[in-house]
Symmetry: C2
Subunit: 203 residues, 2 copies
């Protein structure tokens, strides 16, 4: 399975590094008992080939671009300061196209704003960083923005709360894609106290 | 205050990205109420200028090297696969020298092996990833290796358990350096469930 993680200027470091760590660790843990083809192959994807500068200045060299990445099973859109990304039609259109192709499109933190801009949240519930729920509602009328959950799983679209909640959500995705045992082993490998306060909305 | 984070081939991604996120977020949160000179300036430090490849393939461009970094208040040594680093005298001697200069030298996960190799753990308790405690004891006789704690604070030297525990430890360091309120605000900003199971050893 190919897991793509979008990176941009300035993506929040833990928003992309947490999911990266979860899926690559899950692949490593899985490979111990079943060597061979990796279960998950993770790539970072940027709009272009140039390095991007994550928040606070960390440079990140993307593995590939929105024009040349492999077909994805899961695409994760992290957050950070997303104002500039919201105004890039080539990025928003790419997210919209990917929504029709990937098995799961997921956002971390303010990455939810990019999903909303791409029109993939219509009729679906979503969550984001606690600091940004009011803005998300104000910018995208009619969205069902949920609070107090680590993630909201709407099947084809999954969103997490802020920053570290991306780790909880990705452990949930590992469970969905490869089973409970691997998700638990991965959390234990990360020594991460998995908060399983997620779920489908009641409505 | 200058916070240095050592990066090497192949450093565990969350081991360095977690501390990076904690200190840069703490600086941002602090800057909201007290704009001006940043409270923390975080730099990544490698042995040389070339990009390093973090575990699973993530390329990291270091800000500076062990030969040209600014004077540090805190130096954090993450883990990963540390075998090659243990055999690099220039790195081990640099860590030993820094131990005499920084206010706090800290390790995450198997970074503790590098601290032990540098001789800075003599007479001090330490912790590491749960999978590596036996190896740490076997390789460095006489060390007091503690288990079941998120971090062990020995004053000038602080060590954390595996991977995500580096986040808990760094929140503790933020509290030590800048007070409880900022550490709590930072954890809340990260939506991180801070596990405060640390402390000084009983002995």
């Amino acid at each position: 399975m190919h897991i793509g993680i979008y990176v941009f200027d300035p993506v929040e470091v833990l928003d992309f590094a947490g999911p990266y760590e979860v899926f690559t660790t899950a692949a490593r843990v899985h490979g111990r008992s079943q060597p061979g083809v990796p279960l998950f192959e993770v790539c970072t994807i940027a709009a272009g080939h140039a390095p991007v500068t994550a928040r606070a200045g960390l440079p990140v060299l993307p593995d590939c671009t929105i024009a040349d990445h492999p077909p994805l099973d899961v695409l994760i859109i992290p957050g950070g300061v997303v104002t500039a990304e919201l105004a890039r039609p080539e990025v928003i259109e790419w997210i919209a196209r990917q929504a029709g192709q990937v098995q799961t499109l997921a956002s971390v933190c303010t990455g939810a704003f990019l999903l909303a801009q791409a029109g993939v949240l219509r009729g679906r519930a979503v969550t984001t960083h606690w600091e940004d729920t009011a803005d998300l509602r104000a910018m995208f009328a009619g969205l069902e923005v949920r609070e107090g959950l680590r993630w909201v799983d709407e099947g084809a679209v999954v969103s997490s709360a802020g920053i570290s909640a991306g780790i909880d959500m990705c452990l949930h995705l590992v469970e969905r894609l490869a089973g409970r045992a691997l998700a638990e082993c991965t959390a234990r490998q990360l020594e991460f106290d998995w908060t399983e306060n997620g779920g489908r909305p009641a409505s």
